[in-house]
Protein backbone atom coordinates (compact mmCIF):
# COMPACT_ATOMS: atom_id res chain seq x y z
CA UNK A 1 0.00 0.00 0.00
CA UNK A 2 1.39 3.40 -0.92
CA UNK A 3 0.60 4.98 2.42
CA UNK A 4 2.26 2.20 4.33
CA UNK A 5 5.41 2.30 2.26
CA UNK A 6 5.48 6.05 2.65
CA UNK A 7 5.23 5.54 6.38
CA UNK A 8 8.40 3.47 6.50
CA UNK A 9 10.19 5.82 4.15
CA UNK A 10 9.32 8.79 6.30
CA UNK A 11 10.53 7.28 9.54
CA UNK A 12 13.56 5.57 8.05
CA UNK A 13 16.11 8.43 8.33
CA UNK A 14 15.28 9.10 11.96
CA UNK A 15 15.21 5.39 12.83
CA UNK A 16 18.53 4.74 11.16
CA UNK A 17 20.10 7.68 12.97
CA UNK A 18 18.73 6.51 16.29
CA UNK A 19 19.79 2.94 15.64
CA UNK A 20 23.34 3.83 14.65
CA UNK A 21 24.03 6.68 17.02
CA UNK A 22 22.00 5.62 20.01
CA UNK A 23 21.10 1.95 20.13
CA UNK A 24 24.47 0.65 18.99
CA UNK A 25 26.43 2.79 21.49
CA UNK A 26 24.14 1.72 24.32
CA UNK A 27 24.73 -1.93 23.51
CA UNK A 28 28.45 -1.25 23.16
CA UNK A 29 28.49 0.49 26.53
CA UNK A 30 26.89 -2.52 28.16
CA UNK A 31 29.44 -4.80 26.54
CA UNK A 32 32.33 -2.53 27.55
CA UNK A 33 31.19 -2.56 31.13
CA UNK A 34 32.07 -6.26 31.24
CA UNK A 35 35.67 -5.60 30.13
CA UNK A 36 38.60 -3.73 31.64
CA UNK A 37 38.98 -1.40 28.67
CA UNK A 38 41.54 1.25 29.66
CA UNK A 39 44.41 3.21 28.15
CA UNK A 40 46.45 0.05 27.74
CA UNK A 41 43.63 -1.41 25.67
CA UNK A 42 43.34 1.83 23.77
CA UNK A 43 46.95 1.43 22.75
CA UNK A 44 46.72 -2.26 21.93
CA UNK A 45 43.43 -4.10 21.90
CA UNK A 46 45.31 -7.24 22.88
CA UNK A 47 45.55 -5.81 26.39
CA UNK A 48 41.83 -6.13 26.85
CA UNK A 49 40.40 -8.62 29.32
CA UNK A 50 36.82 -9.76 29.82
CA UNK A 51 36.17 -9.32 33.51
CA UNK A 52 32.48 -10.05 33.86
CA UNK A 53 30.96 -8.22 36.78
CA UNK A 54 34.32 -7.15 38.24
CA UNK A 55 33.77 -3.50 37.30
CA UNK A 56 30.49 -3.45 39.17
CA UNK A 57 32.09 -5.16 42.16
CA UNK A 58 34.89 -2.58 42.06
CA UNK A 59 32.30 0.20 42.11
CA UNK A 60 30.71 -1.22 45.22
CA UNK A 61 34.11 -1.28 46.91
CA UNK A 62 35.18 2.21 45.84
CA UNK A 63 34.50 4.87 48.46
CA UNK A 64 34.40 7.64 45.86
CA UNK A 65 31.47 5.94 44.14
CA UNK A 66 29.49 5.87 47.37
CA UNK A 67 30.51 9.45 48.02
CA UNK A 68 29.25 10.37 44.56
CA UNK A 69 25.96 8.61 45.26
CA UNK A 70 25.67 10.38 48.59
CA UNK A 71 26.42 13.76 47.03
CA UNK A 72 23.92 13.15 44.24
CA UNK A 73 21.21 12.03 46.62
CA UNK A 74 21.80 15.08 48.78
CA UNK A 75 21.37 17.25 45.73
CA UNK A 76 18.18 15.43 44.72
CA UNK A 77 16.59 15.22 48.16
CA UNK A 78 17.32 18.83 49.09
CA UNK A 79 17.24 20.49 45.71
CA UNK A 80 14.03 19.02 44.33
CA UNK A 81 11.70 20.01 47.21
CA UNK A 82 13.21 23.48 47.30
CA UNK A 83 12.89 23.83 43.55
CA UNK A 84 9.29 22.60 43.46
CA UNK A 85 8.36 24.79 46.41
CA UNK A 86 9.81 27.83 44.67
CA UNK A 87 8.07 26.92 41.41
CA UNK A 88 4.75 26.41 43.17
CA UNK A 89 5.02 29.65 45.09
CA UNK A 90 5.83 31.58 41.94
CA UNK A 91 3.04 29.86 40.01
CA UNK A 92 0.52 30.65 42.74
CA UNK A 93 1.57 34.27 42.73
CA UNK A 94 1.35 34.52 38.96
CA UNK A 95 -2.01 32.84 38.96
CA UNK A 96 -3.45 35.26 41.48
CA UNK A 97 -6.02 37.64 40.00
CA UNK A 98 -4.41 40.40 42.02
CA UNK A 99 -1.09 40.24 40.18
CA UNK A 100 -0.23 42.92 37.64
CA UNK A 101 2.31 42.85 34.78
CA UNK A 102 2.00 39.09 34.60
CA UNK A 103 3.66 38.79 31.21
CA UNK A 104 6.73 40.62 32.43
CA UNK A 105 7.05 38.59 35.61
CA UNK A 106 6.55 35.35 33.76
CA UNK A 107 9.39 36.19 31.41
CA UNK A 108 11.66 37.50 34.14
CA UNK A 109 11.23 34.46 36.35
CA UNK A 110 11.71 32.09 33.44
CA UNK A 111 14.79 33.80 32.00
CA UNK A 112 17.40 31.81 33.96
CA UNK A 113 16.07 28.57 32.44
CA UNK A 114 17.24 29.42 28.94
CA UNK A 115 20.63 30.79 29.96
CA UNK A 116 23.69 28.68 29.31
CA UNK A 117 24.53 26.68 32.39
CA UNK A 118 28.28 27.07 32.03
CA UNK A 119 27.96 30.84 31.78
CA UNK A 120 25.80 31.21 34.85
CA UNK A 121 27.99 28.76 36.76
CA UNK A 122 30.91 31.06 36.05
CA UNK A 123 28.88 34.09 37.20
CA UNK A 124 27.78 32.35 40.38
CA UNK A 125 31.31 31.26 41.13
CA UNK A 126 32.15 34.92 41.57
CA UNK A 127 28.94 35.78 43.41
CA UNK A 128 29.80 33.01 45.88
CA UNK A 129 33.36 34.18 46.47
CA UNK A 130 34.23 34.27 50.15
CA UNK A 131 35.62 37.79 50.26
CA UNK A 132 34.47 39.57 47.13
CA UNK A 133 31.22 37.78 46.44
CA UNK A 134 27.98 39.66 46.72
CA UNK A 135 26.15 36.85 48.50
CA UNK A 136 28.42 37.01 51.52
CA UNK A 137 28.27 40.79 51.33
CA UNK A 138 24.48 40.63 51.53
CA UNK A 139 24.64 38.12 54.39
CA UNK A 140 27.10 40.35 56.22
CA UNK A 141 24.64 43.23 56.10
CA UNK A 142 22.24 41.12 58.18
CA UNK A 143 24.97 40.04 60.53
CA UNK A 144 25.98 36.60 59.21
CA UNK A 145 29.69 35.81 59.00
CA UNK A 146 31.10 35.12 55.54
CA UNK A 147 30.70 31.52 54.47
CA UNK A 148 33.34 29.81 52.35
CA UNK A 149 30.73 28.56 49.90
CA UNK A 150 32.88 26.77 47.37
CA UNK A 151 35.82 25.98 49.63
CA UNK A 152 34.18 24.35 52.60
CA UNK A 153 33.14 20.71 52.16
CA UNK A 154 29.91 21.31 54.01
CA UNK A 155 28.74 24.30 51.99
CA UNK A 156 29.78 23.47 48.48
CA UNK A 157 26.82 21.27 47.58
CA UNK A 158 24.29 23.63 49.21
CA UNK A 159 25.78 26.39 47.07
CA UNK A 160 25.17 24.28 43.99
CA UNK A 161 21.62 23.61 45.21
CA UNK A 162 21.08 27.34 45.42
CA UNK A 163 22.32 27.86 41.88
CA UNK A 164 20.17 25.01 40.64
CA UNK A 165 17.00 26.28 42.27
CA UNK A 166 17.59 29.74 40.83
CA UNK A 167 18.21 28.39 37.38
CA UNK A 168 15.39 25.87 37.13
CA UNK A 169 12.43 26.99 39.20
CA UNK A 170 11.00 28.88 36.22
CA UNK A 171 10.58 25.69 34.23
CA UNK A 172 8.26 23.93 36.63
CA UNK A 173 6.62 27.25 37.37
CA UNK A 174 5.27 27.38 33.82
CA UNK A 175 4.02 23.82 33.97
CA UNK A 176 2.38 24.27 37.35
CA UNK A 177 0.87 27.54 36.18
CA UNK A 178 -0.79 25.71 33.30
CA UNK A 179 -2.05 23.21 35.82
CA UNK A 180 -3.39 25.91 38.11
CA UNK A 181 -5.15 27.61 35.24
CA UNK A 182 -6.87 24.35 34.40
CA UNK A 183 -8.54 24.12 37.80
CA UNK A 184 -12.24 24.93 37.30
CA UNK A 185 -13.17 28.32 38.71
CA UNK A 186 -16.41 27.04 40.21
CA UNK A 187 -14.47 25.00 42.73
CA UNK A 188 -13.04 28.22 44.12
CA UNK A 189 -16.40 29.96 43.98
CA UNK A 190 -17.99 27.16 45.93
CA UNK A 191 -15.25 27.31 48.53
CA UNK A 192 -15.39 31.08 49.00
CA UNK A 193 -19.19 30.89 49.27
CA UNK A 194 -18.61 28.61 52.24
CA UNK A 195 -16.38 31.31 53.74
CA UNK A 196 -13.02 29.66 53.15
CA UNK A 197 -9.97 31.90 53.48
CA UNK A 198 -7.15 32.13 50.98
CA UNK A 199 -5.05 29.64 52.91
CA UNK A 200 -7.93 27.18 53.26
CA UNK A 201 -8.68 27.36 49.56
CA UNK A 202 -5.09 26.56 48.88
CA UNK A 203 -5.12 23.57 51.18
CA UNK A 204 -8.47 22.11 50.19
CA UNK A 205 -8.99 23.06 46.57
CA UNK A 206 -5.71 23.90 44.88
CA UNK A 207 -3.27 21.40 46.30
CA UNK A 208 -5.46 18.30 46.10
CA UNK A 209 -6.38 19.04 42.49
CA UNK A 210 -2.81 19.80 41.61
CA UNK A 211 -1.38 16.84 43.49
CA UNK A 212 -1.03 14.39 40.59
CA UNK A 213 0.68 17.01 38.46
CA UNK A 214 2.94 17.95 41.36
CA UNK A 215 3.93 14.36 41.76
CA UNK A 216 4.66 13.95 38.08
CA UNK A 217 6.70 17.13 37.99
CA UNK A 218 8.62 16.05 41.08
CA UNK A 219 9.62 12.75 39.59
CA UNK A 220 10.75 14.35 36.34
CA UNK A 221 12.71 16.94 38.29
CA UNK A 222 14.33 14.23 40.38
CA UNK A 223 15.42 12.40 37.25
CA UNK A 224 16.92 15.60 35.85
CA UNK A 225 18.67 16.46 39.11
CA UNK A 226 20.23 13.04 39.19
CA UNK A 227 22.22 14.01 36.11
CA UNK A 228 24.11 16.88 37.74
CA UNK A 229 27.42 17.48 35.98
CA UNK A 230 28.15 20.93 34.58
CA UNK A 231 28.04 22.85 37.87
CA UNK A 232 30.65 20.71 39.65
CA UNK A 233 32.77 20.67 36.51
CA UNK A 234 32.86 24.45 36.21
CA UNK A 235 32.68 25.59 39.81
CA UNK A 236 34.40 23.08 42.04
CA UNK A 237 36.01 20.32 39.93
CA UNK A 238 34.39 17.83 42.23
CA UNK A 239 35.92 19.32 45.35
CA UNK A 240 36.33 20.39 48.07
CA UNK A 241 37.32 17.00 49.48
CA UNK A 242 35.28 15.37 46.69
CA UNK A 243 32.04 16.59 48.16
CA UNK A 244 30.63 17.77 44.84
CA UNK A 245 31.52 14.68 42.85
CA UNK A 246 28.25 13.40 41.43
CA UNK A 247 27.54 10.10 39.70
CA UNK A 248 27.86 11.68 36.27
CA UNK A 249 30.98 13.61 37.25
CA UNK A 250 32.49 10.38 38.54
CA UNK A 251 31.64 8.73 35.23
CA UNK A 252 33.20 11.58 33.28
CA UNK A 253 36.43 11.40 35.26
CA UNK A 254 36.67 7.61 34.99
CA UNK A 255 35.92 7.74 31.30
CA UNK A 256 37.48 10.89 29.96
CA UNK A 257 40.10 11.79 32.49
CA UNK A 258 41.59 8.37 33.18
CA UNK A 259 40.20 6.54 30.14
CA UNK A 260 39.05 3.55 32.18
CA UNK A 261 36.15 3.07 29.81
CA UNK A 262 35.24 -0.30 31.27
CA UNK A 263 34.52 1.01 34.75
CA UNK A 264 33.04 4.25 33.37
CA UNK A 265 30.54 2.21 31.35
CA UNK A 266 29.62 0.35 34.52
CA UNK A 267 28.86 3.69 36.18
CA UNK A 268 26.81 4.70 33.15
CA UNK A 269 24.69 1.61 33.55
CA UNK A 270 24.18 2.19 37.21
CA UNK A 271 22.95 5.66 36.24
CA UNK A 272 20.64 4.04 33.72
CA UNK A 273 19.21 1.76 36.40
CA UNK A 274 18.34 4.74 38.54
CA UNK A 275 16.69 6.52 35.61
CA UNK A 276 14.77 3.37 34.84
CA UNK A 277 13.57 3.29 38.43
CA UNK A 278 12.39 6.87 38.21
CA UNK A 279 10.53 6.15 35.00
CA UNK A 280 8.77 3.13 36.44
CA UNK A 281 7.71 5.32 39.32
CA UNK A 282 6.46 7.92 36.87
CA UNK A 283 4.46 5.38 34.89
CA UNK A 284 2.96 3.99 38.07
CA UNK A 285 1.83 7.47 39.08
CA UNK A 286 0.48 8.20 35.58
CA UNK A 287 -1.60 5.05 35.65
CA UNK A 288 -2.87 5.99 39.08
CA UNK A 289 -3.74 9.45 37.82
CA UNK A 290 -5.71 8.04 34.90
CA UNK A 291 -7.56 5.70 37.18
CA UNK A 292 -8.75 8.67 39.23
Amino acid sequence: MKASRAGWLFVAPAMVAIAVFFVVPVAAALAMSFTDFDIYALADIGNLRIVGLDNYAWLLKTPLFWQALANTFFFVLVGVPLSIAASLAAALLLNSPLARFKAFYRTALFAPVVTTLVAVAVVWRYLLHTRYGLLNHALASIGIDPIDWLGHPQWAMPAIVLLSVWKNFGYNMIILLAGLQAIPKDLYEAASLEGASWWQQLRHVTLPTLAPMLLMVSILTMAAHFQLFAEPYVMTQGGPAQRTVTVLYFMYEEGFKWWSLGSASAVAFVLFLFMFGFTLLQLRVARYKEAM
Binding site: A3, S4, L117, F256, L271
Partner: protein, 273 residues
Amino acid sequence: MKQRWSVLAVNATLAVIAALTLFPLLWMVSASLMASGEASTFPPPLVPRAPTLANYRELFASAGIGRQVINSLLVSVGATLLSLAFNLTAGYAFAKLRFAGRERLFRTLLGALVIPAQVTMMPLFLMLKQMGLVNSYAGALVPWLASVFGIFLVRQYTLSIPDEIIEAARMDGAGEGRIFIAVVLPLLKPVVVTLSVLTFLGAWNDFMWPLIVLSDRDLQTLPVALAGLSREHVQDTELMMAGAVVTVLPVLLLFLALQRHYMRGLLIGSVKG
Protein backbone atom coordinates in the same frame (compact mmCIF):
# COMPACT_ATOMS: atom_id res chain seq x y z
CA MET B 1 -8.36 47.60 53.43
CA LYS B 2 -7.75 43.92 53.19
CA GLN B 3 -8.11 43.92 49.43
CA ARG B 4 -5.50 46.67 48.94
CA TRP B 5 -3.09 45.01 51.36
CA SER B 6 -3.44 41.72 49.47
CA VAL B 7 -2.71 43.38 46.16
CA LEU B 8 0.35 45.01 47.65
CA ALA B 9 1.55 41.76 49.20
CA VAL B 10 1.21 39.74 46.02
CA ASN B 11 2.83 42.31 43.76
CA ALA B 12 5.59 43.20 46.20
CA THR B 13 6.51 39.53 46.59
CA LEU B 14 6.55 39.08 42.84
CA ALA B 15 8.73 42.14 42.48
CA VAL B 16 11.20 40.91 45.07
CA ILE B 17 11.40 37.46 43.52
CA ALA B 18 11.85 38.97 40.07
CA ALA B 19 14.60 41.24 41.37
CA LEU B 20 16.43 38.36 43.01
CA THR B 21 16.05 36.26 39.89
CA LEU B 22 17.31 38.90 37.52
CA PHE B 23 20.05 40.16 39.81
CA PRO B 24 22.79 37.67 38.84
CA LEU B 25 22.19 38.35 35.16
CA LEU B 26 22.25 42.11 35.67
CA TRP B 27 25.42 41.86 37.74
CA MET B 28 26.95 39.76 35.00
CA VAL B 29 26.43 42.60 32.54
CA SER B 30 27.53 45.22 35.04
CA ALA B 31 30.75 43.41 35.95
CA SER B 32 31.59 42.85 32.31
CA LEU B 33 31.77 46.62 31.94
CA MET B 34 34.06 47.12 34.90
CA ALA B 35 37.78 47.79 34.72
CA SER B 36 40.09 44.86 35.30
CA GLY B 37 40.31 44.00 38.98
CA GLU B 38 37.48 46.33 39.99
CA ALA B 39 35.11 43.51 40.84
CA SER B 40 37.58 41.97 43.30
CA THR B 41 37.72 44.91 45.62
CA PHE B 42 36.22 45.15 49.03
CA PRO B 43 33.40 46.12 49.43
CA PRO B 44 32.30 44.53 46.14
CA PRO B 45 30.81 47.14 43.79
CA LEU B 46 27.45 46.84 42.08
CA VAL B 47 28.01 49.18 39.16
CA PRO B 48 31.20 50.09 37.35
CA ARG B 49 32.76 53.39 38.22
CA ALA B 50 33.55 54.08 34.58
CA PRO B 51 31.89 51.59 32.20
CA THR B 52 34.33 50.30 29.62
CA LEU B 53 34.22 47.87 26.73
CA ALA B 54 37.84 46.86 27.31
CA ASN B 55 36.94 43.35 28.44
CA TYR B 56 34.98 42.69 25.28
CA ARG B 57 37.81 44.00 23.21
CA GLU B 58 40.25 41.71 24.95
CA LEU B 59 37.85 38.81 24.65
CA PHE B 60 37.58 39.18 20.90
CA ALA B 61 41.14 40.28 20.23
CA SER B 62 43.37 38.16 22.46
CA ALA B 63 41.10 35.33 23.49
CA GLY B 64 39.69 35.15 19.98
CA ILE B 65 36.18 34.38 21.07
CA GLY B 66 34.72 35.51 17.76
CA ARG B 67 35.73 32.13 16.40
CA GLN B 68 33.75 30.30 19.06
CA VAL B 69 30.70 32.48 18.47
CA ILE B 70 30.77 31.36 14.86
CA ASN B 71 31.24 27.75 15.93
CA SER B 72 28.27 27.92 18.24
CA LEU B 73 26.19 29.48 15.47
CA LEU B 74 27.20 26.84 12.94
CA VAL B 75 26.57 23.95 15.29
CA SER B 76 23.25 25.31 16.55
CA VAL B 77 21.92 26.14 13.11
CA GLY B 78 23.14 22.82 11.78
CA ALA B 79 21.54 20.95 14.64
CA THR B 80 18.27 22.77 14.06
CA LEU B 81 18.16 22.02 10.36
CA LEU B 82 19.09 18.39 10.84
CA SER B 83 16.62 17.97 13.63
CA LEU B 84 13.85 19.41 11.51
CA ALA B 85 14.75 17.28 8.53
CA PHE B 86 14.74 14.05 10.47
CA ASN B 87 12.05 14.64 13.07
CA LEU B 88 9.32 16.31 11.02
CA THR B 89 8.98 13.42 8.63
CA ALA B 90 9.16 10.82 11.37
CA GLY B 91 6.72 12.64 13.66
CA TYR B 92 4.22 13.05 10.84
CA ALA B 93 4.51 9.39 9.92
CA PHE B 94 3.90 8.26 13.47
CA ALA B 95 0.82 10.47 13.65
CA LYS B 96 -0.82 10.13 10.28
CA LEU B 97 0.69 7.35 8.19
CA ARG B 98 -0.47 3.90 9.00
CA PHE B 99 2.17 1.20 8.72
CA ALA B 100 2.76 -2.16 10.31
CA GLY B 101 4.23 -2.01 13.78
CA ARG B 102 3.77 1.73 14.09
CA GLU B 103 2.43 1.80 17.62
CA ARG B 104 4.89 -0.76 18.91
CA LEU B 105 7.83 1.08 17.39
CA PHE B 106 6.67 4.34 18.91
CA ARG B 107 6.27 2.83 22.35
CA THR B 108 9.76 1.36 22.11
CA LEU B 109 11.11 4.78 21.22
CA LEU B 110 9.41 6.30 24.24
CA GLY B 111 11.03 3.60 26.30
CA ALA B 112 14.39 4.73 24.99
CA LEU B 113 13.81 8.08 26.69
CA VAL B 114 14.67 6.31 29.90
CA ILE B 115 18.25 5.85 28.89
CA PRO B 116 20.26 8.95 29.72
CA ALA B 117 22.29 10.21 26.77
CA GLN B 118 25.50 10.04 28.79
CA VAL B 119 25.47 6.25 28.57
CA THR B 120 26.16 6.52 24.86
CA MET B 121 28.90 9.09 25.03
CA MET B 122 31.93 6.88 25.39
CA PRO B 123 31.13 4.29 22.72
CA LEU B 124 29.86 7.05 20.45
CA PHE B 125 33.20 8.78 20.87
CA LEU B 126 35.08 5.65 19.88
CA MET B 127 32.71 5.08 16.97
CA LEU B 128 33.24 8.60 15.67
CA LYS B 129 36.96 8.15 16.06
CA GLN B 130 36.78 5.17 13.68
CA MET B 131 34.83 7.35 11.26
CA GLY B 132 37.35 10.15 11.62
CA LEU B 133 34.71 12.55 12.89
CA VAL B 134 36.22 13.38 16.26
CA ASN B 135 37.17 17.02 16.62
CA SER B 136 34.89 18.16 13.78
CA TYR B 137 31.56 19.92 13.40
CA ALA B 138 29.97 16.71 12.16
CA GLY B 139 30.99 14.99 15.37
CA ALA B 140 29.32 17.69 17.42
CA LEU B 141 26.15 17.43 15.31
CA VAL B 142 25.68 13.67 15.47
CA PRO B 143 23.55 13.57 18.67
CA TRP B 144 21.11 16.05 17.12
CA LEU B 145 20.27 14.00 14.08
CA ALA B 146 17.17 12.51 15.53
CA SER B 147 15.68 12.85 18.92
CA VAL B 148 12.88 10.86 20.43
CA PHE B 149 11.61 13.99 22.13
CA GLY B 150 11.51 15.86 18.82
CA ILE B 151 9.58 13.07 17.18
CA PHE B 152 7.19 12.98 20.12
CA LEU B 153 6.62 16.71 19.94
CA VAL B 154 5.86 16.69 16.23
CA ARG B 155 3.61 13.68 16.58
CA GLN B 156 1.58 15.25 19.39
CA TYR B 157 1.00 18.38 17.37
CA THR B 158 0.29 16.55 14.14
CA LEU B 159 -2.38 14.42 15.78
CA SER B 160 -4.47 17.55 16.04
CA ILE B 161 -4.64 17.97 12.27
CA PRO B 162 -7.98 16.59 11.01
CA ASP B 163 -7.58 13.41 9.00
CA GLU B 164 -10.09 14.65 6.44
CA ILE B 165 -7.70 17.20 5.01
CA ILE B 166 -5.15 14.51 4.29
CA GLU B 167 -7.72 12.08 2.99
CA ALA B 168 -9.07 14.75 0.66
CA ALA B 169 -5.64 15.35 -0.77
CA ARG B 170 -5.12 11.63 -1.24
CA MET B 171 -8.38 11.33 -3.10
CA ASP B 172 -7.25 14.14 -5.35
CA GLY B 173 -4.47 11.80 -6.36
CA ALA B 174 -1.54 13.53 -4.70
CA GLY B 175 1.46 11.41 -3.70
CA GLU B 176 2.45 11.08 -0.02
CA GLY B 177 5.49 13.29 -0.43
CA ARG B 178 3.48 16.04 -2.09
CA ILE B 179 0.82 15.82 0.60
CA PHE B 180 3.43 16.20 3.29
CA ILE B 181 5.13 19.19 1.72
CA ALA B 182 2.14 21.04 0.33
CA VAL B 183 -0.64 20.24 2.77
CA VAL B 184 0.81 19.20 6.11
CA LEU B 185 3.94 21.30 6.54
CA PRO B 186 2.15 24.64 6.27
CA LEU B 187 -0.15 23.48 9.06
CA LEU B 188 2.84 22.42 11.10
CA LYS B 189 4.43 25.83 11.06
CA PRO B 190 3.89 26.42 14.82
CA VAL B 191 5.58 23.17 15.82
CA VAL B 192 8.35 23.81 13.29
CA VAL B 193 9.11 27.06 15.05
CA THR B 194 8.84 25.41 18.45
CA LEU B 195 11.12 22.55 17.52
CA SER B 196 13.57 24.98 15.94
CA VAL B 197 13.68 27.17 19.01
CA LEU B 198 14.04 24.23 21.39
CA THR B 199 16.75 22.60 19.28
CA PHE B 200 18.67 25.81 18.73
CA LEU B 201 18.65 26.63 22.43
CA GLY B 202 19.53 23.06 23.35
CA ALA B 203 22.43 22.90 20.92
CA TRP B 204 23.74 26.33 21.87
CA ASN B 205 23.73 25.48 25.57
CA ASP B 206 24.98 21.93 25.19
CA PHE B 207 28.11 21.29 27.19
CA MET B 208 29.15 17.72 27.93
CA TRP B 209 29.22 16.30 24.41
CA PRO B 210 31.01 19.25 22.75
CA LEU B 211 33.45 19.15 25.66
CA ILE B 212 34.28 15.56 24.81
CA VAL B 213 34.27 15.68 21.04
CA LEU B 214 35.77 19.10 20.24
CA SER B 215 39.33 19.41 21.46
CA ASP B 216 40.69 22.08 19.11
CA ARG B 217 40.15 25.55 20.53
CA ASP B 218 39.27 26.71 17.02
CA LEU B 219 36.31 24.37 16.82
CA GLN B 220 34.94 24.70 20.31
CA THR B 221 31.53 26.11 21.02
CA LEU B 222 31.04 28.93 23.49
CA PRO B 223 30.17 26.91 26.60
CA VAL B 224 33.25 24.72 26.20
CA ALA B 225 35.52 27.67 25.45
CA LEU B 226 34.10 29.56 28.41
CA ALA B 227 34.70 26.62 30.75
CA GLY B 228 38.29 26.42 29.51
CA LEU B 229 38.83 30.16 29.88
CA SER B 230 37.42 30.05 33.38
CA ARG B 231 40.13 27.64 34.45
CA GLU B 232 42.89 29.70 32.89
CA HIS B 233 41.68 33.14 33.86
CA VAL B 234 40.25 32.31 37.24
CA GLN B 235 41.49 35.67 38.54
CA ASP B 236 40.03 37.81 35.74
CA THR B 237 36.47 38.25 36.92
CA GLU B 238 35.50 40.99 34.50
CA LEU B 239 36.83 39.16 31.46
CA MET B 240 34.90 36.04 32.43
CA MET B 241 31.72 38.05 32.86
CA ALA B 242 32.14 39.46 29.38
CA GLY B 243 32.51 35.90 28.10
CA ALA B 244 29.37 34.89 29.98
CA VAL B 245 27.43 37.78 28.45
CA VAL B 246 28.53 36.83 24.94
CA THR B 247 27.41 33.25 25.59
CA VAL B 248 24.06 34.04 27.16
CA LEU B 249 22.87 37.07 25.23
CA PRO B 250 22.00 35.39 21.90
CA VAL B 251 19.82 32.73 23.47
CA LEU B 252 18.14 35.21 25.78
CA LEU B 253 17.27 37.41 22.81
CA LEU B 254 16.04 34.44 20.80
CA PHE B 255 13.92 33.35 23.71
CA LEU B 256 12.44 36.80 24.19
CA ALA B 257 11.52 36.98 20.53
CA LEU B 258 9.97 33.53 20.32
CA GLN B 259 8.70 33.00 23.85
CA ARG B 260 5.29 31.79 22.87
CA HIS B 261 6.63 28.98 20.73
CA TYR B 262 9.13 27.92 23.35
CA MET B 263 6.48 27.72 26.06
CA ARG B 264 4.22 25.73 23.78
CA GLY B 265 6.94 23.15 23.28
CA LEU B 266 7.55 22.98 26.97
CA LEU B 267 3.89 22.39 27.73
CA ILE B 268 3.28 19.82 25.01
CA GLY B 269 6.37 18.00 26.05
CA SER B 270 5.47 17.73 29.68
CA VAL B 271 1.81 16.90 29.41
CA LYS B 272 2.40 13.44 28.00
CA GLY B 273 -0.59 11.62 26.54
